[in-house]
Symmetry: D2
Subunit: 181 residues, 4 copies
């Protein structure tokens, strides 16, 4: 079975890190990308706290957690670097966070579009060779996520096939997430 190579991040700015990061420079480690928006209730109540738990559970030598601020709605309210900086401070998010590059001709930012994310929160797992091994939208279960990360740490194919991305037809955020309308 072949996996798709994860597209490189397109970012306009990084927070919580002194230097910009690339997926390529992190090759060799498992990467978890938490795509979120600061005004997405499901990101605040479960996506981001779960990403923070991953940081606290696994060694940074094995697993790197990156936040990706994929603003696709309310650009005026959440599109500024100042707003995101304040948000990360108040919610005590310690891992590096990139601002996804705005697209020139649409509202979906570039990395979000390249991965075809369905909304926020979305979670992407990338293996040590840089392949996408899981991509999901909405609420994730810790027990299953822990198992999936360990499978990648041990450099094996997950015993559990990754969740098939659901097709969503909702146009508004609910407790689980904010879909692209």
């Amino acid at each position: 079975m072949k996996y798709k190579l994860a597209p490189e991040l397109q970012t306009s700015h990084w927070l919580n890190t002194e230097t910009s990061l690339t997926l390529k420079s992190l090759r060799g480690r498992v990467i978890l990308i938490e795509a979120f928006q600061m005004l997405c209730p499901g990101c605040v109540s479960h996506g981001l706290p779960q990403a923070q738990r991953v940081v606290e559970t696994f060694s940074r030598d094995e697993v790197v957690v990156l936040g990706l601020h994929t603003v696709f709605e309310h650009h005026d309210a959440q599109g500024s670097r100042a707003a995101l900086t304040a948000f990360l401070h108040e919610y005590r998010i310690s891992f590096p966070v990139a601002i996804d590059s705005p697209s020139s001709n649409g509202r979906i930012p570039q990395t979000m579009a390249a991965y075809g994310l369905q909304g926020t929160p979305s979670l992407i797992l990338i293996d040590r060779e840089g392949h996408i091994r899981k991509q999901s939208f909405g609420r994730e279960n810790d027990l299953e996520l822990g198992a999936e990360i360990m499978a990648l740490i041990l450099d094996n194919q997950p015993a559990n096939v990754p969740d098939a991305p659901d097709v969503l037809d909702k146009n508004r955020c609910d407790d689980d997430g904010c879909p692209i309308s």
Copy 2:
């Protein structure tokens, strides 16, 4: 026992209502004011959901719930009307929300200063005659809050004496009322 008259709200804008509201125009009903900031985690996780539960539990003829956006930090990030509008939409907050008027020479907005609030979330209960009967900062217990609201609905003094407002500035408010500073 005499209670202090609640200072009138000083607001720069109202959301979720077609007309501006005043405490005076709501006289005759019990008023709950939920003072919050959109980037305050405790407001998002318990203050605002509790205020929304009050809306759903009591008749609007008896109890009016008002939000008060008292931005005293991160003005760049949460000080705009656009940001607050997006926040209220995403968090499905249905009750009227006022933006507290910025002060001319300091970071504490005017209504927040007039009440001497300690931070966010803060909760204020005002009786049918316009007196402050509870003012508290931090997490509130639903059972106690339900009892306090009912005591005010029934227009009697609570059997449980309401929490004494901790930081009410005695130079600003006297037994007859709290003049705007």
Copy 3:
């Protein structure tokens, strides 16, 4: 409006109190009766903790909380005084608890039958004159319960009409409670 006088408790034993209690002897105070079974998940997860919160929120001079162990199923497992004693100890329940008297010719114990309770947990509120003012089965909301108790403390009719007892057709415990089948 007239309310029904609360039938006296029929009990075989009391725990957490040195003397047996009667509703009559508590006249003048508001009484909350929490009817439960020790093997009922909804009683353990929300009914009993809520009753304990009522103990901690209101003065015992105003509100008395009584537990009533109404065993209507699994008599072998939960019918003994030893089992209930251990349960109250482990769950740190401090208020007085009565064991409802077994019926001579059926499985529903006597007080439970006299009140026509639908299952466990059930909550009964009795006013200062000994009238039933609320009787409900399942999960109760703290905000509403706090309001109802305060209305009775202040000796007035509740502004919120008590919940109409639902008709249940389930035969097994769920997260909210255990109905009589």
Copy 4:
């Protein structure tokens, strides 16, 4: 590194299974043993629900979950098969549960003593070859547990070293195994 062989279960009865089970007969699969008591609040609120989540997350071909009722207090209240049967029914626990054999001269039942468990809930993970790989007392984190189980499914040593069994009696177990006491 060598791991201790898991002592065989000493049981007086099995529930939720038609035949008695032995660790030996399950060799080749990962085994999670959830040691609990029915009147232990921590078992009811998190230990048993977590074990049930493991059942629902992993394939039974890979991971077998067993409950072990290790009654070491309140024997009168929770020591009967009828009581445990009612409990499992009401809490909808579907996995096989063994009653740990009472000891002849003490209060700690035999399997509990053989493993040197500290109390309930305790969680034991056994690898495909029958070795103890984790033994812990108290609340466990789902993310970490998911990772540990996957490490054993993939038949590798966990990247996170499993918690050292705190109180395993060195006089009872040696590097080759733990003889039944």
